[in-house]
């Protein structure tokens, strides 16, 4: 009896420690709370901890657990025993050649493929490893290692720096989801390398393109040939939203996140307004909110369909039935699920091609519904909702339902257009009867 009690006492702490490994951990990124929680920040110079302290402290104030490590740290790991230790990765280590620990290019790409988010900041000293990660995400940095983005019309006016590599840019993408609904008044300061996007890639977007007069070249040497990257093809800040809803932010300027740029004033060349504070702080705060799923994350639940007038969901419809379809869509606001309001969510009744395409009407409490008539074709159909909006997670719902033709006793019994034929047949029978009487009893 005592031995049993001792065994139980021994087993209890073991059991408790095992449960902490299970995904019931309430602080982790989960379907119910999609905002990331644990972030791994990799730096190549621990001085970044202090030079970018405002950005990091704003993240911590929003509730993230930051784990700031040197990129060469031999204890680095993203996964342990098949579970991811972090929900998001911030790479502020542009010059790192090899990551420490078990991290490498494949590990970072697996991390993103598993649906986790990434912020990647490059610099004028970017290594091949960082360039490869960016290329795998759909973004190509300028191949010349000494090139920086130079703009002689959109530079930030300053007393010290005269080579126009410090750029003030305010040509933001127009999206309230990505950049917040408050307009960023001051331009954003940028100094670093530019990248270009593959035009065939539909998942990557330019959040901040360079002005049409910008080009990417080495500022210390004279230009011997026209630069390969020019104008608005250069992107300063880009985002990628993968099909599994992982979000990636790629930028060529680590200084954009630094305390110096966040606090400094800015005056764009050719403009007379001198802003007291650059738009950097608002820009990086809002875009990090988007990247870490504090905004623009949708979930669709409770797909229901039923015949008009009934409430249960049938397993099969008949052609020319009237049916109603409804789905509830909610948007994550950072702390709770709010009803999603949009007027362009559509449902398709699809079999190889959409036979019916209807826009769902919303009651502004998250319920989207519509009703339509099943087409005059039988087969196996799907209710498909495909909603892809800039900055929002993509919704892709599909529910299969068969549609049968009429049973032979479901046709209308008497066809109205055939009444003359019915009448003619019966009148002929009556005429035959009368004729036979008249003929037989005729004198």
């Amino acid at each position: 009896m005592a031995k049993l009690a001792l065994l139980f006492l021994f087993a209890l702490p073991l059991l408790l420690s095992l449960t902490s490994l299970l995904p019931l951990h309430c602080n982790a990124f989960s379907v119910d709370r999609p905002t990331d929680r644990r972030l791994l920040v990799l730096v190549d110079d621990l001085a970044i901890r202090s030079s970018h302290s405002r950005f990091f402290s704003s993240l911590q104030a929003r509730g993230y657990d930051l784990d700031l490590r040197h990129a060469d740290d031999p204890g680095l790991a993203l996964r342990r025993y098949g579970q991811y230790l972090y929900d998001g990765l911030i790479l502020f280590s542009p010059s790192v050649q090899r990551f420490g620990g078990s991290l490498d290019l494949a590990a970072v790409l697996d991390f993103v493929d598993a649906g986790h988010d990434l912020i990647l900041a490059a610099d004028s000293s970017t290594s091949d490893l960082i360039r490869e990660i960016a290329t795998e995400c759909g973004v190509d940095f300028d191949e010349d290692p000494a090139a920086m983005v130079i703009d002689h019309t959109s530079y930030a006016v300053s007393e010290t720096e005269g080579d126009h590599t410090l750029i003030a840019s305010d040509d933001f993408i127009k999206s309230d989801v990505i950049l917040g609904d408050k307009k960023i008044e001051a331009p954003v300061l940028f100094r670093g390398i530019g990248h270009s996007l593959n035009t065939a890639n539909s998942l990557v977007l330019k959040v901040l393109p360079a002005s049409p007069a910008a080009y990417s070249a080495n500022p210390l040497m004279k230009l011997s040939s026209p630069p390969s990257l020019t104008g608005s093809a250069i992107s300063l800040v880009s985002i990628v939203q993968a099909r599994n809803n992982a979000r990636i932010l790629i930028t060529g300027s680590l200084d954009m996140f630094s305390n110096r740029f966040l606090k400094s004033g800015v005056q764009k060349a050719g403009r007379s307004i001198k802003h007291e504070k650059s738009g950097n702080e608002q820009f990086v705060t809002e875009i990090s909110k988007w990247v870490f799923h504090e905004r623009g994350h949708l979930k669709a639940v409770n797909v229901h369909h039923h015949k008009v007038g009934e409430t249960n969901e049938p397993s099969m419809y008949r052609i020319n039935d009237d049916l109603e379809y409804s789905v509830e869509i909610y948007e994550w606001s950072g702390s709770s699920w709010e009803p999603y309001v949009a007027d362009d969510v559509q449902v398709q009744f699809y079999m190889m091609s959409p036979y019916v395409l209807k826009t769902l009407a919303t009651d502004h409490k998250g319920l989207y519904s519509t009703s339509f008539k099943v087409p005059d074709v039988y087969g196996v159909f799907q209710f498909k909702v495909e909603h892809q909006k800039l900055g929002y997670t993509s919704l892709s719902l599909s529910k299969q339902i068969p549609v049968r033709p009429f049973r032979h006793n479901e046709y209308e019994r008497f066809i109205t257009t055939a009444f003359p034929y019915y009448g003619a047949s019966f009148s002929t029978m009556v005429a035959f009867f009368i004729f036979s009487i008249v003929y037989l009893y005729n004198k």
Partner: protein, 115 residues
Amino acid sequence: MAKSNASDAQALIRSLRSAYAATPTNLKIIDLYVVFAIATAIIQVVYMGIVGSFPFNSFLSGVLSCVGTAVLAVCLRSQVNKENKEFKDLPPERAFADFVLCNLVLHLVIMNFLG
């Protein structure tokens, strides 16, 4: 010439009428029945021409009932006609019985095909 044509036609019609008046009454009753059946069939064909042949089985059933019963009546007429040498030995009761039975079968089929 036209006048003579017109008067020829009138003379023809008059002679046909007087010849027809000489036929026995029972044959005239059969003729009336045939005319009724064919008229009904023509009405149905005109109706189909207007509306289209949507329940084609109903159309066929209706037209066939009229035409079928008209054909059977014509057979009856030729069998009971005393001037017809072919059916000299056929009793008219037998002809009428055949007529009735065939009509019953015809109308049974028509009712089934009417839909």
